[in-house]
């Protein structure tokens, strides 16, 4: 059984909502990202989404763009992200890692090499923002053969006719985009999100987690109440921006930076 399935099955069994932080690999440097990943698990993360830096992140808002720019300034490339996962696995065998990013770095590495290296490094899932199902056939197949889940997005604009095929393709979990816009924007309408998620339930048994615009414990709680879990990205990357660019971070700084995840965990657990 895949790590993602283990975690999500377990959560379902225990009535636990999933908490999935997103951070950019190499922001402010790779050693700090590694410390942050372990810190996030301690704070209550179930799965970690690890961003692959890309020069042109056209679906991301300003906060994540700046995180990506910091990582690229340090020369962080896809192969470094793989090494990071491998290092993380030395101490953590159970927390699933999902790589999230844009297609071009993967195109340049080559699909086969990417899938082989990802599997070997301990990656569990992949979410490519600019690779909708219509373009994903080849890479999806290669990842599946390598035992890696491909996670897809559903947006408020997704037409009914496509829901079934997206739900059928997505493995691991389904990522529901809470709003029309980019990462870090403001959510306006919880009612619409709730209605859309219940529509999705007709097509999938998989966990439906919500991302984009969840900025604190309160919004995490409100969103978790109507879904199977939440993704917190920009709000965490905003805290990471305050870290000094040094190889070794004080434990106190890691705790302070990941505090938002701990608070979200607590708020979500209160739901039960």
């Amino acid at each position: 059984m895949s790590r993602i399935k283990q975690v999500t099955d377990n959560a379902k069994l225990n009535n636990r909502k999933l908490l999935i932080p997103y951070l950019v690999s190499g922001d402010p440097n790779l050693a700090s990202t590694l410390s942050l990943m372990h810190g996030l698990v301690k704070a209550g993360a179930d799965i970690i989404e690890l961003g692959i830096p890309f020069s042109d992140p056209s679906s991301d808002g300003a906060v994540i763009q700046r995180g990506v720019e910091r990582a690229l300034a340090k020369g962080t490339q896809l192969k470094d992200v793989m090494s990071l996962v491998r290092q993380f696995r030395e101490k953590d065998e159970s927390t699933p890692i999902v790589l999230m990013g844009y297609l071009n770095p993967i195109e340049y590495m080559g699909y086969e090499s990417f899938a082989a290296l990802a599997a070997d490094s301990g990656v569990d899932g992949v979410l490519i923002v600019d690779m909708p199902p219509v373009e994903s056939g080849e890479l999806h197949g290669i990842l599946k053969s390598a035992g890696i889940d491909t996670i897809y997005l559903v947006a408020p604009t997704t037409r009914e006719a496509r829901l079934q095929s997206i739900c059928g393709l997505s493995s691991g979990y389904l990522y529901y985009v809470s709003l029309k816009g980019v990462t870090g924007a403001a959510i306006s309408d919880y009612g619409e999100i709730e209605a859309n998620i219940s529509r999705l339930r007709a097509y999938t048994q998989q966990p439906i987690v919500v991302g984009f615009g969840i900025k604190d414990a309160d919004s995490a709680k409100a969103m978790a109440a109507i879904s199977d879990g939440v993704i917190i990205g920009s709000a965490l990357v905003d805290k990471i921006a305050l870290l000094a660019d040094q190889d070794s971070q004080d434990n106190a700084d890691i705790v302070r930076t990941t505090e938002i995840i701990g608070l979200a965990r607590k708020a979500i657990n209160d739901l039960i």
Binding site: P53, F54, S55, D56, P57, S58, S59, D60, G61, A62, Q65, E69, L72, Q77, L78, K79, Y102, L103, N104, P105, I106, E107, Y108, M109, V129, D130, M131, P132, V134, E135, Y152, L153, V154, A155, P156, T157, T158, R159, R162, V177, K180, G181, V182, A185
Partner: protein, 406 residues
């Protein structure tokens, strides 16, 4: 539609999913999928709607001032000492470049879709001006994204857009140039998708943009083909056009693709020289990848990060290229070559002095290569160079390079 285009041909692409061979496609985030699908459906209908094309043709004739002349450049011909040199005068269009052929068409689509707000990206400002112009003409709200560096380099065009009532938004992320303006326009579109139409300025982006921009620019090649038959008595032996994203080039080339006797040359920006790495020539030295919605040749480092480009002409300063050009390169129907900054500047002066026509720096790249090519051809051969825009916007740049204070 000419007979040429209604018959079955390998050049009828893209296929139904928007691919030209392995290139093109729909590589955008889920939020935008419905919007591009809707546009593809609507354009699929409009492309066969005679009323739509009648309205488009009317605008081209009465507002843009088409057809543009195919001008025999006698003194350039003498200077080249080879083929007879003709210039397709897109510089004479309203707003001074070929860009308006496309913005008119897309704004008419926006109007039919009932979208009151249009957005556009711009590098040199030409597409921004052309978008702001048609927005004023049709009473649409217009927002133009432009790199912060380009805003400084192209101040007159920024003011032009403002005069036309557009809101110019400075983009200071990434390298603060055209590609970043395009990222920001995509972000805006995802946010305001319900009421907004995105007018992409070149034959690139997600399907159906490469197709519809090409179709709107094909008026260049259709006219050039008819004018050649009328003025020369036969088709030209060679076509030359500059390639940034490649909309003027695909517009000239496409109606001739099936004419095997017509050779075609797309001229990329060689910048400080291909070997220097400071250029904008993805077809000459790049590798296929995915950016801004399509798979195409890109300038990218080994890790897949998009590289910053360099060209004296802001309009060619883009790390990608339209996907149909990538395919035409692979099947060897079009030759892709480059002209560097210095060669383009020399051609800028040569055309200005010999013919009294000040060309855009973008078009100067085509003139530079075209003159070189003409010199190798015989005097009974003919060459058509696409003069995609006029150079008034560039005189400050040229003066600055040459140390002249205006």
């Amino acid at each position: 539609m000419s007979e040429q285009e209604s018959s079955q041909s390998q050049f009828d692409g893209p296929d139904l999913s928007g691919h030209f061979g392995p290139y093109g496609g729909t590589f955008v985030g889920e939020t935008l999928i419905a919007a591009v699908e809707e546009l593809a459906e609507i354009y699929g209908k409009l492309s066969k709607d005679e009323d739509f094309w009648r309205e488009y043709d009317y605008e081209l004739k009465h507002y843009v001032g088409r057809p543009s002349p195919l001008y025999f450049a006698e003194r350039l011909t003498a200077a080249a000492g080879g083929a007879q040199v003709y210039l397709k005068r897109e510089d004479l269009n309203h707003t001074g470049a070929h860009k308006i052929n496309n913005t008119i068409g897309q704004a008419l689509i926006a109007k039919r879709m009932g979208k009151p707000r249009i957005i556009a990206e711009t590098g040199a400002g030409q597409h921004g001006v052309a978008s702001a112009t048609v927005a004023a003409r049709l009473g649409l709200e217009c927002h133009v994204y432009m790199g912060a560096d380009d805003i400084v380099r192209q101040a007159p065009n920024v003011y032009r857009m403002k005069l036309l009532g557009a809101n110019v938004i400075s983009v200071d992320s990434g390298s603060s140039t055209l590609k970043d303006a395009m990222n920001e326009a995509l972000r805006d579109w995802a946010t305001n998708v319900d009421n907004t139409y995105y007018i992409i300025g070149t034959a690139a982006g997600p399907h159906p943009y490469p197709q519809l921009v090409r179709d709107f620019q094909c008026v260049i090649g259709r006219e050039a083909r008819e004018q050649s038959l009328e003025q020369i008595g036969r088709l030209p032996d060679a076509l030359v056009a500059c390639v940034g994203g490649g909309s003027n080039a695909i517009g000239l080339f496409h109606p001739f693709l099936e004419d095997e006797e017509v050779a075609m040359y797309g001229v990329e920006a060689g910048g400080l020289g291909i070997d220097s790495g400071k250029h904008a020539a993805p077809l000459s030295v790049g590798k296929p990848g995915v950016l801004h919605g399509n798979r195409t040749y890109l300038m990218s480092d080994e890790g897949g990060q998009i590289l910053e480009t360099h060209s004296v002409s802001a309009g060619l300063d883009y790390p990608g290229v339209g996907p149909e050009h990538s395919w035409l390169k692979d099947i060897k129907r079009v030759n892709y070559v480059s002209a560097n900054d210095e060669e383009a500047l020399a051609a800028f002066h040569q055309l200005t002095r010999l013919e009294g026509i000040i060309p855009a720096l973008e078009s100067s790249h085509a003139v530079a290569y075209g003159m070189e090519l003409a010199a190798t051809m015989k005097s009974d051969q003919n060459i058509v160079i696409n003069l995609s825009g006029r150079g008034d916007k560039d005189i400050e740049t040229v003066a600055k390079i040459e140390g002249i204070e205006l």
